[in-house]
Protein backbone atom coordinates (compact mmCIF):
# COMPACT_ATOMS: atom_id res chain seq x y z
CA UNK A 1 0.00 0.00 0.00
CA UNK A 2 2.82 2.28 0.96
CA UNK A 3 4.51 1.44 -2.33
CA UNK A 4 1.32 2.14 -4.24
CA UNK A 5 0.97 5.48 -2.50
CA UNK A 6 4.54 6.34 -3.36
CA UNK A 7 3.91 5.39 -6.98
CA UNK A 8 0.79 7.57 -7.04
CA UNK A 9 2.88 10.53 -5.99
CA UNK A 10 5.92 9.67 -8.07
CA UNK A 11 4.18 8.97 -11.37
CA UNK A 12 2.52 12.40 -11.70
CA UNK A 13 5.83 13.94 -10.70
CA UNK A 14 7.66 12.05 -13.41
CA UNK A 15 4.97 13.01 -15.89
CA UNK A 16 5.21 16.65 -14.85
CA UNK A 17 8.95 16.56 -15.47
CA UNK A 18 8.70 14.59 -18.71
CA UNK A 19 5.72 16.38 -20.28
CA UNK A 20 7.39 19.68 -21.15
CA UNK A 21 10.19 17.71 -22.79
CA UNK A 22 7.69 15.79 -24.91
CA UNK A 23 5.77 18.95 -25.83
CA UNK A 24 9.00 20.72 -26.84
CA UNK A 25 10.04 17.77 -28.98
CA UNK A 26 6.77 17.95 -30.87
CA UNK A 27 7.28 21.50 -32.08
CA UNK A 28 8.87 22.24 -35.43
CA UNK A 29 11.35 19.36 -35.42
CA UNK A 30 10.13 16.88 -38.00
CA UNK A 31 10.86 13.18 -37.87
CA UNK A 32 12.86 12.52 -41.01
CA UNK A 33 14.13 9.03 -40.18
CA UNK A 34 11.34 7.49 -42.29
CA UNK A 35 13.43 8.49 -45.32
CA UNK A 36 16.60 6.73 -44.17
CA UNK A 37 15.86 3.62 -46.19
CA UNK A 38 16.33 5.70 -49.38
CA UNK A 39 20.06 5.94 -48.69
CA UNK A 40 20.43 2.39 -49.97
CA UNK A 41 18.98 3.36 -53.36
CA UNK A 42 20.53 6.81 -53.70
CA UNK A 43 23.60 7.72 -55.63
CA UNK A 44 24.26 10.64 -53.28
CA UNK A 45 23.01 11.09 -49.73
CA UNK A 46 23.48 14.10 -47.45
CA UNK A 47 22.32 14.06 -43.84
CA UNK A 48 22.81 17.19 -41.73
CA UNK A 49 22.05 17.46 -38.02
CA UNK A 50 22.72 20.74 -36.27
CA UNK A 51 20.88 20.37 -33.00
CA UNK A 52 20.18 22.88 -30.25
CA UNK A 53 23.32 21.95 -28.30
CA UNK A 54 25.50 22.79 -31.27
CA UNK A 55 23.51 25.95 -32.05
CA UNK A 56 23.87 27.24 -28.50
CA UNK A 57 27.53 26.33 -28.28
CA UNK A 58 28.27 27.95 -31.64
CA UNK A 59 26.44 31.14 -30.67
CA UNK A 60 28.38 31.24 -27.37
CA UNK A 61 31.76 30.31 -28.79
CA UNK A 62 31.81 32.43 -31.93
CA UNK A 63 32.94 36.01 -31.52
CA UNK A 64 31.62 39.20 -33.10
CA UNK A 65 35.10 40.44 -33.97
CA UNK A 66 35.92 37.99 -36.73
CA UNK A 67 33.84 38.34 -39.91
CA UNK A 68 33.50 34.57 -40.51
CA UNK A 69 32.49 33.89 -36.92
CA UNK A 70 30.09 36.85 -36.82
CA UNK A 71 28.41 35.73 -40.04
CA UNK A 72 27.69 32.21 -38.76
CA UNK A 73 26.74 33.51 -35.30
CA UNK A 74 24.11 35.84 -36.77
CA UNK A 75 22.67 32.98 -38.79
CA UNK A 76 22.38 30.53 -35.92
CA UNK A 77 21.25 32.99 -33.23
CA UNK A 78 17.80 32.08 -32.00
CA UNK A 79 17.63 28.89 -34.04
CA UNK A 80 17.16 25.56 -32.31
CA UNK A 81 18.09 23.17 -35.06
CA UNK A 82 18.83 22.60 -38.73
CA UNK A 83 18.13 19.19 -40.21
CA UNK A 84 18.61 18.22 -43.84
CA UNK A 85 18.13 14.99 -45.70
CA UNK A 86 18.90 14.93 -49.38
CA UNK A 87 18.93 12.03 -51.83
CA UNK A 88 19.97 11.98 -55.46
CA UNK A 89 19.15 8.93 -57.53
CA UNK A 90 20.38 7.51 -60.82
CA UNK A 91 16.87 6.65 -61.95
CA UNK A 92 13.42 8.17 -61.60
CA UNK A 93 10.85 6.50 -59.35
CA UNK A 94 13.21 5.48 -56.57
CA UNK A 95 11.18 7.30 -53.94
CA UNK A 96 7.42 6.99 -53.61
CA UNK A 97 4.46 9.20 -52.74
CA UNK A 98 4.30 7.27 -49.46
CA UNK A 99 7.81 8.54 -48.63
CA UNK A 100 6.68 12.12 -49.23
CA UNK A 101 3.51 11.57 -47.22
CA UNK A 102 5.56 10.70 -44.12
CA UNK A 103 6.74 14.33 -44.23
CA UNK A 104 3.55 15.94 -45.49
CA UNK A 105 1.41 14.41 -42.75
CA UNK A 106 3.61 16.12 -40.19
CA UNK A 107 3.36 19.56 -41.81
CA UNK A 108 -0.41 19.21 -42.08
CA UNK A 109 -0.55 19.28 -38.29
CA UNK A 110 -1.81 22.21 -36.22
CA UNK A 111 0.12 25.44 -36.61
CA UNK A 112 1.67 24.56 -39.96
CA UNK A 113 0.86 26.68 -43.03
CA UNK A 114 1.94 26.03 -46.58
CA UNK A 115 3.62 29.17 -47.81
CA UNK A 116 4.96 28.19 -51.21
CA UNK A 117 3.98 25.42 -53.56
CA UNK A 118 5.62 25.42 -56.95
CA UNK A 119 5.26 22.59 -59.40
CA UNK A 120 7.65 22.72 -62.30
CA UNK A 121 8.73 19.90 -64.57
CA UNK A 122 11.92 21.78 -65.32
CA UNK A 123 12.96 23.01 -61.91
CA UNK A 124 11.26 20.49 -59.69
CA UNK A 125 8.57 20.90 -57.05
CA UNK A 126 9.06 23.07 -54.01
CA UNK A 127 6.80 23.12 -50.99
CA UNK A 128 7.60 25.51 -48.15
CA UNK A 129 5.76 25.21 -44.84
CA UNK A 130 5.92 27.50 -41.80
CA UNK A 131 4.95 26.62 -38.26
CA UNK A 132 3.32 29.42 -36.30
CA UNK A 133 3.34 29.43 -32.52
CA UNK A 134 0.76 32.14 -31.79
CA UNK A 135 2.09 34.93 -34.06
CA UNK A 136 5.69 33.84 -34.03
CA UNK A 137 7.31 31.54 -36.53
CA UNK A 138 8.47 28.42 -34.73
CA UNK A 139 10.00 26.61 -37.66
CA UNK A 140 10.15 25.91 -41.35
CA UNK A 141 10.12 22.92 -43.63
CA UNK A 142 11.06 22.71 -47.29
CA UNK A 143 10.22 19.71 -49.40
CA UNK A 144 12.02 19.75 -52.73
CA UNK A 145 11.36 17.00 -55.22
CA UNK A 146 12.55 16.24 -58.69
CA UNK A 147 12.32 13.02 -60.66
CA UNK A 148 15.68 11.91 -59.37
CA UNK A 149 16.02 13.99 -56.23
CA UNK A 150 14.37 14.38 -52.87
CA UNK A 151 15.45 16.98 -50.32
CA UNK A 152 13.90 17.91 -47.00
CA UNK A 153 15.13 20.92 -45.02
CA UNK A 154 13.78 21.43 -41.52
CA UNK A 155 14.73 24.51 -39.51
CA UNK A 156 13.56 24.75 -35.91
CA UNK A 157 13.19 28.19 -34.33
CA UNK A 158 12.29 31.68 -35.53
CA UNK A 159 13.12 31.68 -39.22
CA UNK A 160 11.75 33.38 -42.30
CA UNK A 161 12.41 33.02 -46.01
CA UNK A 162 15.05 35.76 -45.93
CA UNK A 163 17.00 33.90 -43.27
CA UNK A 164 16.53 30.65 -45.17
CA UNK A 165 17.95 32.33 -48.28
CA UNK A 166 20.99 33.39 -46.22
CA UNK A 167 21.36 29.87 -44.85
CA UNK A 168 21.35 28.32 -48.32
CA UNK A 169 24.78 26.94 -49.11
CA UNK A 170 25.86 27.17 -45.45
CA UNK A 171 25.58 24.85 -42.44
CA UNK A 172 24.85 22.02 -44.82
CA UNK A 173 21.67 23.64 -46.16
CA UNK A 174 21.56 23.01 -49.91
CA UNK A 175 21.07 25.83 -52.39
CA UNK A 176 17.40 25.47 -53.30
CA UNK A 177 16.95 28.97 -54.74
CA UNK A 178 13.99 29.54 -52.43
CA UNK A 179 14.03 33.32 -52.97
CA UNK A 180 13.74 32.83 -56.74
CA UNK A 181 10.99 30.27 -56.23
CA UNK A 182 9.12 32.64 -53.93
CA UNK A 183 9.26 35.45 -56.51
CA UNK A 184 8.08 33.16 -59.29
CA UNK A 185 5.25 32.00 -57.07
CA UNK A 186 4.18 35.58 -56.35
CA UNK A 187 3.90 36.47 -60.09
Amino acid sequence: MKTLFRMKITMPLILLIALPIVVQAQDAHLQLSSLDHLAGKANQTVDVNVDERLMKAAAKLLSDKDADERGVKQLVEGLKGIYVKSFEFDNAGEYTTADLETIRTQVRGPGWTRLVNVTSKKEGNVEVYLLFNAEQVGGLAVLYTEEKELTVVNIVGPVDLDKLAKLEGQLGVPDLEIEKTKKNNEK
Binding site: T45, V48, R53, L61, L62, D68, K73, G172
Partner: protein, 177 residues
Protein backbone atom coordinates in the same frame (compact mmCIF):
# COMPACT_ATOMS: atom_id res chain seq x y z
CA UNK B 1 10.47 12.31 0.27
CA UNK B 2 13.22 9.84 -0.49
CA UNK B 3 11.61 9.19 -3.87
CA UNK B 4 11.52 12.89 -4.71
CA UNK B 5 15.14 13.27 -3.66
CA UNK B 6 16.09 10.29 -5.79
CA UNK B 7 14.33 11.78 -8.83
CA UNK B 8 15.98 15.16 -8.32
CA UNK B 9 19.35 13.47 -7.87
CA UNK B 10 18.82 11.34 -10.96
CA UNK B 11 17.89 14.42 -13.00
CA UNK B 12 20.98 16.22 -11.77
CA UNK B 13 23.23 13.29 -12.55
CA UNK B 14 21.81 12.84 -16.05
CA UNK B 15 22.10 16.55 -16.83
CA UNK B 16 25.86 16.48 -16.20
CA UNK B 17 27.56 15.84 -19.55
CA UNK B 18 29.68 12.74 -19.55
CA UNK B 19 33.03 13.64 -21.06
CA UNK B 20 34.51 10.82 -23.01
CA UNK B 21 38.16 10.16 -22.83
CA UNK B 22 40.46 9.70 -25.78
CA UNK B 23 39.13 6.19 -26.20
CA UNK B 24 36.47 7.30 -28.69
CA UNK B 25 39.02 7.69 -31.47
CA UNK B 26 40.46 4.25 -30.75
CA UNK B 27 36.96 2.77 -30.52
CA UNK B 28 36.05 4.14 -33.95
CA UNK B 29 39.26 2.81 -35.50
CA UNK B 30 38.66 -0.59 -33.90
CA UNK B 31 35.04 -0.58 -35.04
CA UNK B 32 36.10 0.11 -38.65
CA UNK B 33 38.63 -2.71 -38.42
CA UNK B 34 36.01 -5.13 -37.15
CA UNK B 35 33.21 -4.02 -39.47
CA UNK B 36 35.23 -4.11 -42.68
CA UNK B 37 37.83 -6.67 -41.53
CA UNK B 38 40.67 -4.28 -42.32
CA UNK B 39 43.76 -3.07 -40.46
CA UNK B 40 44.90 0.49 -40.02
CA UNK B 41 48.52 1.50 -40.51
CA UNK B 42 50.23 2.17 -37.24
CA UNK B 43 51.83 5.59 -37.23
CA UNK B 44 52.76 6.00 -33.58
CA UNK B 45 54.73 9.20 -34.04
CA UNK B 46 51.96 10.92 -35.91
CA UNK B 47 50.09 12.16 -32.89
CA UNK B 48 53.16 14.06 -31.75
CA UNK B 49 54.62 14.88 -35.13
CA UNK B 50 51.27 15.75 -36.66
CA UNK B 51 50.96 19.09 -35.00
CA UNK B 52 54.39 20.28 -36.06
CA UNK B 53 54.07 18.96 -39.57
CA UNK B 54 50.57 20.35 -39.97
CA UNK B 55 51.82 23.77 -38.95
CA UNK B 56 54.63 23.46 -41.47
CA UNK B 57 52.19 22.43 -44.18
CA UNK B 58 49.95 25.34 -43.28
CA UNK B 59 52.87 27.72 -43.45
CA UNK B 60 53.85 26.41 -46.83
CA UNK B 61 50.36 26.45 -48.26
CA UNK B 62 49.13 29.41 -46.23
CA UNK B 63 45.63 30.91 -46.17
CA UNK B 64 43.00 28.34 -46.99
CA UNK B 65 45.09 25.43 -45.82
CA UNK B 66 45.39 26.78 -42.31
CA UNK B 67 42.56 24.74 -40.90
CA UNK B 68 44.00 22.55 -38.22
CA UNK B 69 47.30 24.31 -37.59
CA UNK B 70 45.86 25.89 -34.43
CA UNK B 71 44.62 22.59 -33.16
CA UNK B 72 45.76 21.33 -29.81
CA UNK B 73 45.99 17.71 -30.84
CA UNK B 74 45.53 15.63 -33.92
CA UNK B 75 44.94 11.92 -34.16
CA UNK B 76 45.08 10.17 -37.47
CA UNK B 77 44.46 6.59 -38.54
CA UNK B 78 44.94 5.60 -42.14
CA UNK B 79 43.70 2.49 -43.91
CA UNK B 80 45.31 1.97 -47.30
CA UNK B 81 44.55 -0.33 -50.21
CA UNK B 82 42.02 -2.56 -48.49
CA UNK B 83 38.48 -3.48 -49.45
CA UNK B 84 35.73 -1.52 -47.71
CA UNK B 85 32.80 -3.66 -48.70
CA UNK B 86 29.73 -3.53 -46.53
CA UNK B 87 26.29 -2.09 -45.99
CA UNK B 88 26.87 1.59 -45.26
CA UNK B 89 23.51 2.01 -43.51
CA UNK B 90 24.59 -0.69 -41.05
CA UNK B 91 28.01 0.90 -40.80
CA UNK B 92 26.48 4.25 -39.96
CA UNK B 93 24.27 2.75 -37.26
CA UNK B 94 27.26 0.91 -35.77
CA UNK B 95 29.35 4.09 -35.87
CA UNK B 96 26.64 6.09 -34.09
CA UNK B 97 26.42 3.33 -31.50
CA UNK B 98 30.18 3.36 -30.96
CA UNK B 99 30.36 7.07 -30.19
CA UNK B 100 28.80 8.28 -26.97
CA UNK B 101 26.28 11.11 -26.69
CA UNK B 102 28.87 13.83 -26.25
CA UNK B 103 29.67 13.50 -29.94
CA UNK B 104 27.07 15.27 -32.08
CA UNK B 105 26.59 13.89 -35.59
CA UNK B 106 26.91 16.95 -37.78
CA UNK B 107 26.96 15.85 -41.39
CA UNK B 108 27.01 12.51 -43.15
CA UNK B 109 27.40 12.18 -46.89
CA UNK B 110 27.34 9.00 -48.89
CA UNK B 111 28.19 8.87 -52.55
CA UNK B 112 27.07 5.64 -54.14
CA UNK B 113 29.01 5.92 -57.36
CA UNK B 114 32.41 6.47 -55.83
CA UNK B 115 31.47 4.46 -52.75
CA UNK B 116 32.64 7.35 -50.58
CA UNK B 117 31.31 7.95 -47.10
CA UNK B 118 32.04 11.06 -45.04
CA UNK B 119 31.06 11.49 -41.42
CA UNK B 120 31.70 14.58 -39.31
CA UNK B 121 31.02 14.60 -35.57
CA UNK B 122 31.52 17.49 -33.16
CA UNK B 123 32.13 17.54 -29.42
CA UNK B 124 32.31 20.45 -27.02
CA UNK B 125 35.79 20.87 -25.57
CA UNK B 126 35.49 23.94 -23.36
CA UNK B 127 36.34 27.01 -25.41
CA UNK B 128 37.12 24.84 -28.44
CA UNK B 129 35.52 22.03 -30.36
CA UNK B 130 36.71 18.52 -31.11
CA UNK B 131 35.95 17.33 -34.61
CA UNK B 132 36.02 13.75 -35.78
CA UNK B 133 36.18 13.26 -39.54
CA UNK B 134 35.76 9.76 -40.93
CA UNK B 135 36.24 9.22 -44.64
CA UNK B 136 35.71 5.81 -46.20
CA UNK B 137 36.37 5.17 -49.86
CA UNK B 138 36.39 2.01 -51.93
CA UNK B 139 39.97 1.05 -51.05
CA UNK B 140 41.07 3.62 -48.46
CA UNK B 141 39.83 5.18 -45.26
CA UNK B 142 40.94 7.89 -42.86
CA UNK B 143 39.93 8.79 -39.33
CA UNK B 144 41.03 12.22 -38.08
CA UNK B 145 40.29 13.76 -34.72
CA UNK B 146 41.35 17.37 -34.22
CA UNK B 147 40.58 20.28 -31.94
CA UNK B 148 39.15 23.32 -33.65
CA UNK B 149 39.33 26.94 -32.63
CA UNK B 150 36.18 29.08 -32.80
CA UNK B 151 37.18 30.44 -36.19
CA UNK B 152 37.73 26.99 -37.63
CA UNK B 153 34.44 25.85 -36.18
CA UNK B 154 32.78 28.76 -38.00
CA UNK B 155 34.47 27.68 -41.24
CA UNK B 156 33.33 24.10 -40.69
CA UNK B 157 29.75 25.21 -40.07
CA UNK B 158 29.82 27.44 -43.14
CA UNK B 159 31.20 24.79 -45.42
CA UNK B 160 31.05 21.38 -43.71
CA UNK B 161 32.02 19.26 -46.70
CA UNK B 162 34.85 21.49 -47.90
CA UNK B 163 36.34 22.08 -44.46
CA UNK B 164 35.95 18.41 -43.51
CA UNK B 165 37.89 17.41 -46.62
CA UNK B 166 40.55 20.02 -45.88
CA UNK B 167 41.01 18.63 -42.38
CA UNK B 168 41.49 15.11 -43.72
CA UNK B 169 43.72 16.25 -46.56
CA UNK B 170 45.94 18.25 -44.25
CA UNK B 171 46.24 15.42 -41.80
CA UNK B 172 47.17 13.00 -44.53
CA UNK B 173 49.64 15.45 -46.09
CA UNK B 174 51.41 15.10 -42.75
CA UNK B 175 51.30 11.36 -43.24
CA UNK B 176 53.07 11.62 -46.55
CA UNK B 177 55.80 13.96 -45.37
Amino acid sequence: MKTISAIVLALLVFSIPVHAGDDDFKSVVKMIEQFYRVKHQGIPFLAKAGMKAATTAAKVKGGEAKRISEAGSIKVAVFEDQAFNGDFTKFRATLNGTLNDTWMPFIHTISGKSAEQNYIYLRNAGDKYDVLVITIEERDATVVQATLSAKNLALLLKDPEGTGKSITEEATIVDQE
